[in-house]
């Protein structure tokens, strides 16, 4: 039995990464402008207006669509930077805009009623009532679901709503409800919601202590790696901490999300689009991940049984991954 394949939505931090993702078979690419309007505001990343237009053209020529993320929360007294970003997306040939901020959703709905709006995961719409509210009030056509739901819950949501859903299947995993986490600003003064960065590189230090490598964030020890153990970026919620004498990964192990195994269930649950995380990752990584998922998604749609493990082995070899909240035991 053959079904319509789920849409594969892939990240791009640079024009080169966009071309790589398109060539590797992405149906849709998401990216952002080079400023604090997008939640991956890292040095050297993202698109100028001109690069965005060229990227949209390149994608269009190859049958792919582009989504532009304007998914931080606008700063008081500086609304114009965000309004301008929305205006520019509306004037471009981008397929849709990804928004999280109520004020910006309101602006887009009233100023650009024809602009297709996707609700960012940063808006943390985690149930049918809220999703229907966003669809009704702001005309959201698709919702990126927060990574707090099980597959069963996603299926139930899809039965109750009229708009599309998109879920994360691979990459970095937020263990907290997205868009509602201030751990980064508590430690560094910079947050995803305000600055578009989490555990920002400017606050990161690595120190080799001989017996172990220590990673710190603004002076707070996030982890210590004995010699030979793989290091990780000191993302706050993936640190090793101590609580009442117990030491370990209190919030989450340094794992990444990999939902390849449950693609058939996600299709069954009525999910429209599958999202890969990682606008900050290089194009080498992107090419590999997108290519593998392209094959996996097509196979699932065609009802072919395929060895997902074998297909994704090159990406996950020796690495820890989790199905995250999609399986209930994660909680």
């Amino acid at each position: 039995m053959s079904q319509k394949a789920m849409e594969l939505v892939c990240p791009a931090g640079t024009p080169a990464a966009l071309r790589t993702a398109v060539d590797a078979g992405a149906d849709t690419i998401y990216c952002g402008f080079r400023d604090q309007t997008n939640a991956r505001n890292f040095p050297g990343l993202n698109f100028s207006r001109k690069e965005m237009q060229q990227g949209i053209e390149y994608a269009g020529k190859n049958g792919s669509k582009v989504l532009v993320a304007v998914n931080t929360f606008a700063q008081a007294g500086n609304m114009d930077l965000w309004y301008k970003a929305i205006d520019d997306v509306a004037a471009s040939d981008a397929h849709a805009i990804i928004l999280a901020d109520i004020g910006l959703l309101d602006y887009a709905a009233s100023k650009h009623p024809d602009l297709r709006v996707h609700l960012s995961v940063q808006a943390a719409a985690a149930n049918a009532d809220m999703i229907n509210y966003y669809a009704r009030e702001f005309g959201a056509k698709r919702v990126v679901l927060p990574r707090v739901l099980t597959v069963q819950e996603i299926a139930a949501i899809n039965k109750e709503i009229s708009c599309e859903t998109e879920v994360f299947i691979f990459g970095g995993l937020c263990v907290m409800a997205e868009g509602r986490c201030s751990l980064s600003s508590y430690c560094t003064g910079k947050s995803p919601n305000i600055n578009g960065v989490c555990s920002p590189p400017g606050s990161v230090k690595y120190e080799d202590h001989g017996t172990h490598l220590e990673s710190t964030l603004e002076g707070i020890t996030i982890n210590q790696y004995p010699k030979g153990e793989a290091a990780a970026y000191p993302t706050l919620c993936k640190g090793r901490f101590e609580s009442l004498g117990e030491t370990g990964y209190v919030f989450e192990d340094p794992v990444s999300l990999n939902a390849a195994q449950i693609l058939p269930q996600l299709q069954e649950a009525g999910v429209t689009a599958l999202k890969i995380e990682g606008r900050q990752r290089g194009k080498a990584y992107m090419a590999q991940v997108v290519k593998s998922f392209r094959q996996a998604v097509d196979a699932v749609a065609a009802g072919r049984s395929i060895d997902l493990d074998a297909l994704l082995a090159p990406m996950t070899e020796g690495q820890k991954s989790t199905k995250g909240s999609y399986q209930k035991t994660w909680r």
Binding site: Y225, K227, T235, A284
Partner: protein, 196 residues
């Protein structure tokens, strides 16, 4: 992907490179770099303010270190036998030479190299990230660019060079770094696994 397959030159290569004359090498690499930069003006846009920083590259398996700067949209390169020659460096990136080349080509994932601890970073983490991202976007083909300055000989030089590097990467001649440090790189992306 070539995660964790990092290989180093054996010490004899380091001994050999010790006798390479640095000055002509400096000029050669700078010429290549500026050629590439000329073709990718957006490279400097991407580097933005981090173009003011100085980046020191330390190939762990060779006997020299390089210091790169990008002032006024021009790539400047200085080679030295010792890290001490660059006391005011903002960033030090340390990795086996071929890993650095793969990184430049976008063949190897910087995060994976970093997580497996084959690559280490000291100093301004933001600047490294900016350079990494700018390089990744520039789509540099290292051997192609090096060969290009050879004029009419560039084509045979390029294909020969590529075969040579590939052979080197696979060669038993190279020491596998894995055996010394059994590492399991994680894929927990660079900054911030929060999403769009």
């Amino acid at each position: 992907m070539s995660n964790g397959t990092v290989r180093s030159f054996p010490p004899i290569v380091a001994r050999f490179t010790r006798y390479l004359p640095l000055l002509p090498l400096e000029r050669l690499i700078a010429e290549v770099a500026n050629r590439v930069a000329g073709q990718h003006p957006e490279f400097f846009d991407r580097l933005d303010d981090y173009a003011k920083k100085s980046f020191v590259i330390v190939p762990t398996d060779l006997d020299w270190v390089a210091c790169m700067t990008f002032h006024n949209e021009k790539v400047q390169l200085r080679l030295s036998r010792s890290l001490e020659s660059f006391p005011n460096r903002d960033v030090t990136v340390t990795a086996p030479f071929l890993s650095l080349v793969s990184l430049l080509d976008g063949e190897e994932d910087g995060d994976a190299l970093f997580f497996s601890r084959d690559l280490t970073i000291e100093g301004d983490t933001e600047a490294v990230l900016a350079l990494r991202n700018a390089l990744d976007d520039a789509e540099i083909d290292f051997v192609h660019e090096c060969s290009a300055i050879a004029g009419p000989l560039s084509r045979p030089l390029e294909s020969g060079g590529k075969r040579f590097i590939e052979a080197l990467k696979k060669s038993a001649f190279m020491r596998g770094a894995q055996e010394e440090s059994p590492s399991h790189p994680t894929m927990d992306g660079m900054p911030g696994p929060y999403p769009t």
